[in-house]
């Protein structure tokens, strides 16, 4: 293979990206060496098994991916902002919308949710860690290896270009002969294994490690949502594993699963992909519902209205999520009966979702509402998500769907669902739980400025797309002529996209500013919260709870505050902790190289890399490290120091 086949050449934009990647990497290496931070990085982060730090790393990676996916989005909007635009060519445009979709769903939304899960779930249920701390680290490093593998594709070898749903035969070896879709199958496969492990880990954590007295129906709503999400993960992700395996076999070993000859069936891919892909939507949106429930109840200063119906509606949604997948391809010739069935099940999802909307509204009703930044995002979510939901029901009608299938209407719909339903939620959760991890709040004023930028720009960007879709502009169309009349609305959408960019930059600037200037929080409970995570000092100590509290009712901490009783009057004892381990990180690196070599079908390198993976796993199995104890006196001292003089 020649160098110009290995690296992507001929694109000034990509040359720029290559230079900036090299410069940023150099800057990081030089910076770490100059400030002598290598040891700190290794000891405190790369080898950590602390769920809070793993959560922080997830969120950091997700934020970086948000900007990577955002750059893709801006380039798409720029390309379509005017008729006959020559900014990108067709191939480059295909690559960009493909990577935008994959990155935003799999490498931004999911890790962001997983980050918040990791940080908060053990704290909400009164646990000292997740059930399997080292497995948790492995999950993170597998996600990270997959994400990095996916990201290098655009400079080495070329990005996938068959859309995030990678439909065959387009994604097959004949029509997509370069390595882009190999990256797709392998990087998602690697991070998907990590996701599955996270699902197992959190089910065990939530079911087995709750504080005494916390029955299932006394759990905070976010914990409930994560439990249900984890169950969906366990049943949905293996389907993706197989789909990606078959894709790899078809592309690299000449099998006939999705081909157009020798009995292959391209629709099999569409079915397998969406049997995973539809539940995936709920994997990212259910935890978001949990986050909003927490925030709305905290800042309406009321307990959540309709707790039981909230739980039931999530259970119903999780069941329905598995029987609606064919609504993604009504127009691909599956007959009226099949379309009818999937049309009805799809519309049925609106019922439990509507229940949740009304529960939030009734929680707000007669509440003493505080308009904090996280609350603003939650309040904005309700009407915007409802627009997304209503247009979803429009799309669910199979016969009507023939009109707007694969148009910008669909693009507008799912951005109207996923951005308020996931992105607003993770940003709200980020602002809400930030003080628990770092010990200070993000600046409210700056947070609200960013909020208004994001909310307004979001609508300016995506609302025009509904009309463009109804006028007949198909999705994935990389250019159009002036006579179509699509120009002005696309330009408006571009303006919104610039506003969104400014909003997200303000958000990051707020993190920087608050780190330097925002006053530190000594109470551990800056929002006057309801659930257990607010009962411990901020930043949360490594062992979380010096004394494990006993739970008698929902929102126990809230009532304990009101009744002026302490949840922690038991004696402090020594605490058992898991030791750090560098192996998960090394395993991630091995998986990265295994994936990379398989992408290029370099078997003589891939086989040793595969053996390395097995050997690292074996050494982990031989490990007999049972962790260590923090002595009771040390715990007592830490508690005193963290709580300051306020207790």
């Amino acid at each position: 293979m020649k160098w110009d086949e290995f690296f992507v050449t001929g694109e000034p934009l990509i040359y720029g990206a290559m230079v900036s990647i090299v410069l940023v990497s150099l800057a990081i290496v030089v910076g770490l060496t100059y400030f002598k931070k290598w040891g700190y990085l290794w000891k405190e982060w790369l080898t950590t098994v602390d769920h809070k730090k793993i959560g922080v790393m997830y969120i950091l990676a997700a934020l970086i991916m948000l900007f990577r996916g955002g750059v893709d989005a801006i380039m798409m909007r720029a390309q379509t902002s005017m008729p006959d635009m020559k900014f990108l060519d067709g191939q480059h445009y295909n690559e960009i919308f493909t990577t935008h979709g994959v990155i935003m769903i799999l490498f931004m939304a999911m890790p962001f949710i997983f980050g918040l899960m990791n940080v908060i779930i053990p704290l909400q249920i009164g646990a000292r860690d997740v059930a399997f701390p080292r497995l948790n680290a492995i999950s993170f490093w597998l996600f990270f290896a997959g994400a990095m593998l996916f990201n290098i594709s655009f400079v080495i070898g070329g990005s996938p270009d068959a859309g995030w749903s990678a439909y065959f035969p387009l994604a097959g070896p004949e029509l997509s002969p370069h390595v882009g879709n190999n990256y797709y199958s392998l990087s998602i496969q690697i991070s998907g294994i990590g996701t599955l492990m996270t699902g197992v880990n959190f089910i065990v954590t939530i079911l087995k490690m709750r504080a005494p007295g916390m029955t299932l129906m006394k759990m905070p709503m976010f914990t409930w949502s994560v439990l249900i999400t984890s169950v969906i993960i366990i049943f949905a992700f293996p389907v993706l594993t197989i789909a990606l395996l078959l894709m790899m076999l078809d592309r690299q070993f000449g099998t006939q699963f999705f081909t157009m000859q020798n009995g292959g069936m391209d629709m099999l891919w569409a079915n397998l992909f969406w049997v995973w892909g539809h539940p995936e939507v709920y994997i990212v949106v259910l935890p978001a519902f949990g986050i909003f429930s927490e925030i709305i109840s905290t800042f309406a200063r009321k307990n959540l209205y309709g707790y039981t119906s909230m739980v039931l509606s999530m259970l119903v949604i999780s069941a329905l999520s598995f029987i609606v997948w064919a609504h993604h391809f009504y127009t691909m010739g599956q007959g009226a009966m099949v379309n009818g069935f999937f049309s009805i099940t799809t519309m049925a999802i609106a019922v439990p979702t509507g229940v949740k909307i009304f529960n939030w509204l009734f929680t707000l009703h007669r509440g003493r509402i505080q308009f904090t930044t996280p609350m603003l995002y939650s309040l904005a979510f309700i009407p915007i998500f409802t627009i997304g939901g209503v247009t979803g029901v429009m799309l669910a009608m199979a016969s009507a769907d023939y009109q707007y299938h694969n148009t910008m209407f669909l693009v507008a719909h799912f951005h109207y669902v996923l951005i308020p339903g996931t992105v607003f939620a993770v940003i709200a959760g980020f602002h809400y739980w930030f003080p628990k991890v770092f010990g200070f709040r993000l600046n409210e004023r700056k947070g609200k400025t960013a909020f208004w930028f994001i909310i307004i720009s979001f609508n300016v960007t995506f609302f025009p797309l509904f009309f463009l879709g109804l006028q007949g502009m198909t999705r994935r169309m990389y250019t159009y002529s002036e006579e179509t009349g699509f120009g002005p609305l696309n330009m408006l959408s571009m303006v919104g996209a610039i506003g969104l960019t400014i909003g997200f930059i303000l958000l990051v600037y707020n993190i920087y500013w608050s780190t330097r200037y925002e006053p530190r929080d000594k109470t551990g409970d800056p929002w006057d919260g309801r659930s257990l995570e607010w009962s411990i000092p901020s930043p949360a100590p490594v062992y979380n709870f010096a004394v494990v509290p006993e739970i008698k009712q929902r929102d126990e901490y809230w009532f304990a505050k009101k009744e002026k009783r302490s949840l922690f009057d038991k004696k402090i004892e020594k605490i058992h902790m898991p030791s750090n381990s560098g192996k998960p990180f090394v395993l991630g690196i091995a998986f990265f190289f295994l994936g990379f070599f398989v992408v290029f079908s370099w078997w003589s390198l891939a086989i040793p890399a595969g053996l390395a993976v097995l050997i690292i796993m074996a050494t982990m199995s031989f490990d007999r490290d049972h962790g260590y104890y923090i002595p009771a006196e040390e715990v007592a001292q830490t508690e005193k120091k963290l709580r300051g003089d306020t207790v």
């Binding site: 699902g199 089910i203 065990v204 087995k208 049943f235 293996p238 099998t255 074996a618």
Partner: protein
Amino acid sequence: MKIDATQPLEYGTEENRNKIFGFWLFLGAEIALFATLFTVYFVLVDRYASGPNGAEIFEIGPVLAETFILLTSSFTIGLAVHAMRLGLKKQMMMFMIITLALGAVFLGIEIFEFFTYVHEGATITTSAFLSSLFTLLGTHGAHVTFGLLWGIAILVQLRKHGLDHSTANKSFIFSLYWHFLDVVWIFIFSFVYLKGLM
């Protein structure tokens, strides 16, 4: 580490109980994984294009042998766990070695089968039916191979550290895995081979 003496060794600590529960959940995911593979197989089973179909290449002899060998190994891993409960490390290791040996023989026959199919012109690239057949069998075979390596690692640990909470827990989880492979094979035997031969 609190040890609960009323429980069997492998359930003794909270960590152990969590691991066993977690592994059951993982097996749930494995069921979803194999269910997907079976679905793909059933969808593609009649799409053999110009290649041979199941009835033309399947032979009952080797498949019956594979079935009996794997079923026996499921029995012997049960005996190993029984010996473990009685605290008989030596017998336990012996039964585990027998189990792994049977697994290796099973794998040998399967590889021999694959060679026969390929020799008869039935390769993984010939038709959609054969692609799905080889992938289903191959995934099961890869699981058995991984099980062999895993079992050997556990045997080494049993030798080195004796029978304690950690090794007992690992051995028990391994036995769950091995039984699971057997269950999957029952489905392959019934719905791939027997149905294919009809």
